[in-house]
């Protein structure tokens, strides 16, 4: 049976009716149409479904929607402001840290939560920070460069 949960997504309050077995990924994508959060495996291997929950990056495919009750979620759709793209998004654009772009939202959110905690990460720290996000296209180097350029 569906239950109503309340949560904050990208600074907006939501009330959503969810099935007890629905994942946070599916809730975001199907119930709210926030398809910037991607699905690559649904078993926690790839990080394409990464969102930030109460300041911590999580694989949203491993979180039940119910568990997000009362939490604060940031998805890729929440990064842009009236001032434009988030500096990490801009860096990804300028450094060419994108190919197919399917891993990109997850990469950006993992990078953001790293930079929020550690504004000047070393290359090793950046690599460790995004090591839960797989990318089959780019070879990571430009992603690391992009994050580094924001860190400075």
């Amino acid at each position: 049976m569906k239950r109503i949960i309340q949560l904050t997504i990208n600074d907006k309050e939501y009330e959503v009716a969810v099935e007890p077995n629905q994942t946070l990924t599916d809730m975001l994508r199907y119930e709210l149409g926030l398809t910037g959060t991607k699905k690559g495996c649904e078993v926690g291997d790839c990080g394409s479904c990464t969102v930030i929950m109460d300041g911590i990056p999580v694989n949203s495919c491993l979180v039940l929607a119910m568990q997000a009750n009362g939490r604060k979620i940031t998805t890729i759709e929440g990064l842009e402001t009236e001032k434009g793209m988030h500096p990490i998004q801009k860096a990804f654009v300028e450094k060419g840290a994108i190919q197919c772009g399917f891993c990109t939202p997850g990469m950006i959110l993992s990078s953001k939560s790293l930079l929020d905690k550690n504004p000047n990460p070393t290359e090793e720290e950046i690599r460790a920070g995004i090591s839960g996000n797989l990318c089959r296209c780019t070879g990571y180097q430009k992603i690391v460069d992009a994050v580094k350029s924001v860190g400075k």
């Binding site: 398809t35 699905k39 291997d45 300028e94 070879g139």
Partner: protein
Amino acid sequence: MSKKEIYAVKGLSVPETPASAQEPKPWKQTQMVGKGIPRVDAYERVSGTAVYPSDVLLPDMIYGAVLRCPHPHAQVKKVDVEAASKMPGVRAVITGDTPEARVEWTYSKEARSSLFDPHCRFEGEPVAAVAAETPYQAEDALRAIRVEYDVLPFVVDERDALKENAPSVHGAGNVLKTEKYERGQVDRGFREADVVLEENYRTECQLHTPMELHGCVAKWDGDRLTLWESTQGVYAVQAEVAEVLKLPLSKVRVVGHYMGGGFGSKLKAGKYTVIAALLAKKSARPVKLFLTREETYLAVGNRPPNNMRLKAGVKKDGTLTALDFSCTGTGGAYPSGGTSLVDWLVRDLYKCPNVRTECTDIAIHTGPARPFRAPGHPQGAWVLEQMMDALAEAIKMDPVELRLKNIPNFSQGKEGNPPYSSTGLKQCLEEGAKAFQWKVARSKALAPGETGRIKRGVGMASCLWVVGGGWPPSTVILKLFPDGSLNLNMGASDIGTGTKTVMALVAAEELGIPLGKIEIEHADTGTTQYATPSGGSKTVPTEAPTVRAAAISVKQQLLEMASKELKLDAASLVFQEGSIAPAKDPSKSVKITDLSELKKRGVVVGIGYRGPNPENKAIIPFAAQFCEVEVNTKTGEVKILRFVSTNDSGRVMDRLTYDSQVIGGITMGIGLAMTEYRVLDRDQTGRMLNRNWHDYKLPTALDVPLEMTSLPVDREDSQANSVGAKGLGEPVTIPTAPAIANAVYNATGIRITETPISPERLCRLLAEKRKEG
């Protein structure tokens, strides 16, 4: 930088306009092409607003799922869907007994099958499918389907498949075909050699695993079908679906737009495409059907495993005298190129008069292969490039030197031995060695007295890719509006390589229009022009000259309009920054946006067609890669420290996307060399054991070197086509694995002839070597 600043380009002048029927000259100087300009669709990709096929949400849409055979070989006796059909939310169930689903399916020309073939020849063959209101309900319904199987004996390793009494895949023996090639006199060649070496090699089966899953959304409007499919080629999907469902092409619209990677596994439709269409028809609802990650490991292709042997002869001065290569391989249960192009580098990369190859493709009970980035080449390179390294050592020559000695200027492997339109192999080797500081690095690694447990080594390898010139057909339409903005309409998919960006740059270059004013329609059979699938490193050399031709047509029409307006001969007019003026009197210019005929007509439509390639020329990209590794001789761990890749792919069209391709290609090659391989339960169950990214390991950000350098040999190939570019996507991944193996050899003296270079394997070989002393 704001978006506006990135995209605004001021004061563009445009290249000369050829008269109609005249070939355009190569660009002298470029303003847009070849720079590092960010992707035109970068914003969409970083903001989450790009809609991939798996993101498509339609009102009333329901979800499909496929039940797959859990055995490598079985006969379906009975499928009972009664319980499943009554489950909550279920709207359609189809099986091989459903009349509409009794359609033919061709895995390959040689082997016809059906959509739900009761004779399942691999684990993962579809047996039934459902559509339900939610993905969870669809999943539940699958579990309620009861299937009775006759489980049959299987063979899932091609090395077992030729044994006597091996279970047969298609009724007779398991050899699908043997292909032979020979030139010169191989035996005499070996007699002329000073050194002859012989070695066996093997590469394991690699899986594509693009980040976006395979699948589509299917929707019917009356008898018209629309598919949003994650694909490299919308027209290929259209043709296949129309044929299977016996529909006119015009009734099948395939929309691609964004897609999350394919690497060859999404060149065609899948059974899932047709199943989605059938479920949508039956339920009268749009159906989204995307495979699970697990299913993609079984049923949507792979790079075949290959067992290879090479015997090679060389003279003391480095002249190759003979190459004798043989291999077996398997494309799985249906003929799908288990050995295709594996011998190509042996035939074509180095000068050698006497060459013999023999390739035997074998059937086994596993999912059919699909082309995987540079089919056959990384496997062949694994053999040839390690052998070149060994030959160089045997004749005491530097491996780079040995390769430089054997550079051909024509294709020895192709019919009629056509000359290369350009060959930058020499530059790749020389410039790469220089940038890598090959000599210094090698002498350091070779220096005696390294007694520590960590050993350093360097290695290199080179390659070519069999086709890099693109080819017809392709049509591109450009529409220039009276306000000076442009619409670029092409059928090609941008699979992540930057196709849209490169094409926009070509249009901008030729027409002097800033990128911000160019909009692209692409990858839609309903609204865009015919194109072959994006793959095989052919998209840029196919589409870019087509865009240029369309742009030139637009310019010619504008000159005609201006000629009427200025009452001057069109041939006397030239473009200058958004205006047209007499060449002799620039002050009498008319702004393009002021042309009255343009305003009246509302648009100028320029159509470009891809012309033929030059006759009797081989248009081939080349590359060389250099790497340095650190081997822990106690644990067998290999750390890759740095890579330098030099590529001759003709003109660099966009530096940012170019470098990204190179680094991504190296990374995929690192996967093949180090961690990626399919594990099958060869004896007990025949099932795949590592069908997820946890057990099948892709390189992560921590597994690739901190330093990867892309160094283009940026020389336009003016014979190849009007933009001077050759393909890039495949050569970037071909030499990687053997370069690493050569570096490991350099560090340890151990020749690793089988992938992956895992710590277990290396440890075992190190221990054996210590025992031998």
